[in-house]
Symmetry: C2
Subunit: 111 residues, 2 copies
Amino acid sequence: MGVTKSDLFNEMQNELATVAKVLAHPARVAIIQQLLKSNACINGDLVQELGLAQATISQHLRELKSVGIIQGTIEGSRISYCINPMRWTEIKNQFNQLFDQYPPSIPRDCC
Amino acid sequence: MGVTKSDLFNEMQNELATVAKVLAHPARVAIIQQLLKSNACINGDLVQELGLAQATISQHLRELKSVGIIQGTIEGSRISYCINPMRWTEIKNQFNQLFDQYPPSIPRDCC
DNA sequence: TAAGTACATTGCAATATTACGATATGTTTT
DNA sequence: AAAACATATCGTAATATTGCAATGTACTTA
């Protein structure tokens, strides 16, 4: 196996899981935080900052791009990465839609 | 490989990634939503609700428990699962600490 | 245009995840 | 105590992820 049965779940559940998967690696969290921190848009200086090989960083960047949370613009021979503001807000809201479901308005008697 | 170099990253990054990994499966999102929805604390009725085998659900429950987001209490021969309120808030805050870093107070000129 | 720089992609080895049948453990009912 | 439940754990097959060296692609500078 090793393959998720995504047809069993609704779109919200699958989408949230997909985004969470992208955040589910410390290198990718670190990359995001670098982009947040750096005044100028950081590119492959990430290879210096984090201690991973260039190929590995590139792979992580691709996954971050795959859910649209970051975007890259070609800047001569370099590539400038940064947060995609629209998508950032969307993702933030997606998570908060889940997180704000608790505590429920009607109290529960459980546990 | 297949093994994350977690020593390269700080605690916040590793912890957020660990929690995100637990949310990174639609079945686990679905389980959480069932626990949120059900007035009484749902147990292995989850096997009925979601279309997965009992062993699979049990495995997902264990992962949710591993980060403390849910807790189970033995109720006779059954087990009653529910959200752990403290941990829920902690996790919500962890994510929002990241999410609220954007947009930055000082505007950026990038992209 | 050749050499250098920056980044992406490919290919591969090590490890992790997903799913489930089978089985173990513990509880309740008969 | 035996049978019937409820849940956890084990073992295993299929697939996914992580990391990197090697290589490809594209721009820049000499």
